[in-house]
């Protein structure tokens, strides 16, 4: 078990190391977050709409669109010099490879998410007085569910001629539960509602995240092998 986790961590660590050196995906996602905030500002008449009331929608839509930008490139690295061949030739179980990629992506997207909260909080004067722990749990579970699905699909995108342009078409319908439960939970927490009202949402987000991480781990081998 320990050896297995070590393999998962080896993959995640390598991805994060490379990302740290190039900052390619983080820059793209970060710039996206800020610019979308900018555009949202121009697209809302704050005399009519209170951003505080739709904080959930603003934040989650940004996380999903921006996240897809970054997630789509998950396997780009491995393509360049054929590193995927090297990995497939190694004894690493393919589900460990998947989980390592998911872990790396989760960290990256979490960084972007923090940025989104900070930027949107600043741009739209969002006030939050609810339970931070619960908010973190909601966001973490939602992001995990998102990452587990998109990592699997980005492997498909890499292996096929469809490229990343098809990813939204594939992924968006499947993300509806994350959007539904994530945004309503976020909105409720921002509105200062008690934590207990968010319990059901947390459970559903957890179910989604667990189900698709497990399913992804099993299905990944059918996608990554040629």
């Amino acid at each position: 078990m320990r050896a297995y986790l070590a393999l998962v961590w080896a993959v995640a660590r390598k991805d994060l190391m490379v990302e740290f050196r190039t900052r390619e995906r983080l820059t793209a996602m970060g710039a996206f977050a800020v610019l979308v905030g900018l555009l949202f500002n121009f697209s809302m008449d704050t005399a009519v709409v209170r951003p505080q009331d739709i904080a959930g929608a603003l934040i989650w839509m940004t996380i999903i669109f921006g996240g897809l930008l970054g997630m789509g490139r998950t396997f780009r690295l491995e393509e360049e010099d054929g590193a995927l061949t090297g990995i497939l030739q190694s004894p690493i179980p393919l589900d460990a490879l998947y989980l390592g990629k998911v872990l790396g992506n989760f960290v990256l997207l979490s960084v972007m998410t923090v940025l989104v909260f900070l930027v949107f909080g600043l741009f739209f004067d969002l006030r939050f007085s609810g339970s931070s722990v619960t908010l973190v749990a909601v966001v973490a579970l939602g992001v995990l569910g998102f990452v587990s699905l998109t990592t699997l699909f980005s492997a498909m995108a890499t292996r096929s001629s469809m490229g990343e342009s098809l990813l939204p078409v594939l992924v968006f319908p499947l993300l509806v539960p994350v959007v539904v439960y994530g945004t309503t939970a976020t909105d409720r927490l921002f509105a200062g509602r008690p934590v207990v009202e968010v319990g059901g949402n947390l459970r559903m987000l957890a179910a989604f995240a667990i189900m698709f991480t497990v399913a992804g781990a099993w299905l990944f081998r059918f996608v990554i092998e040629e």
Binding site: L94, L149, L152, M156, R159, S160, S161, M162, L166, V169, L170, F172, P173, L174, V176, P177, V180, Y181, T184, M204, A207, F208, M211, F212, A215, L219, R221, F222, V223, E226
Partner: protein, 237 residues
Amino acid sequence: MSQKQARWAVGVLGTLGVATMIVLHWMVFFWVPTESRMGLVQRIFYIHPAAWWIAFLGFGIVGLCSAAYLWLGDERLDRAAVTGAEAGMVFTTIGLITGPLWGRVAWGTWWEWEPRLTLALILWFIYLGYFLVRRSTANPEQGKRFGAVIGVIGVLDIPLIHVSVTWLRSLHPEAVILSADSPMNLDPSMGVTFGVGLLAFTLVFASLFLARYTVAGYEHELDLRDGIPAATQGAKA
């Protein structure tokens, strides 16, 4: 099932299906009484949900056969999945067209974010993804596998989507929707007609499924003759 048996089965099911359909339409238009609250338009109740039932049955087949195909590698399972997907998508499209038509009359608007309609729209896109992904690879075997992965993910996600959409809707009961669930003055004959509707659609679906599946089998045999090999190795991994 041999060719002869298949043709016989398709013929029987098809005839039964068409016959039941005719009976159904007679019942819908002439036999069953008009429901007092909604009037004439309520008659679509016998046809519309039946189409939905097939749409979801289709995806259930896709999901099960996809999982089995990945596990066992038998090409016939993929054929069954794709057949289910084609039929399912056709019925989903029918539902998405007839739904708004009914909605225009019953609700006053073309579109409502009513749980079933919403779910159907999402399902339509999942079907679309299934077909797009199958065609997106240079290697057709890989395309089948990718499609199967979408099938499995889809069938796992659809219940969650359904629950989430229904839950969200319950938070905002906006328009007074005269949906198929709302209290109707049910005459026992309506229940019968509804049942006949389900039966008719199921029979038609079954015969279409079998016919298409058999044709897919012929296509496969032709491919073999052209030198394209049969089942991939067992995918147990």
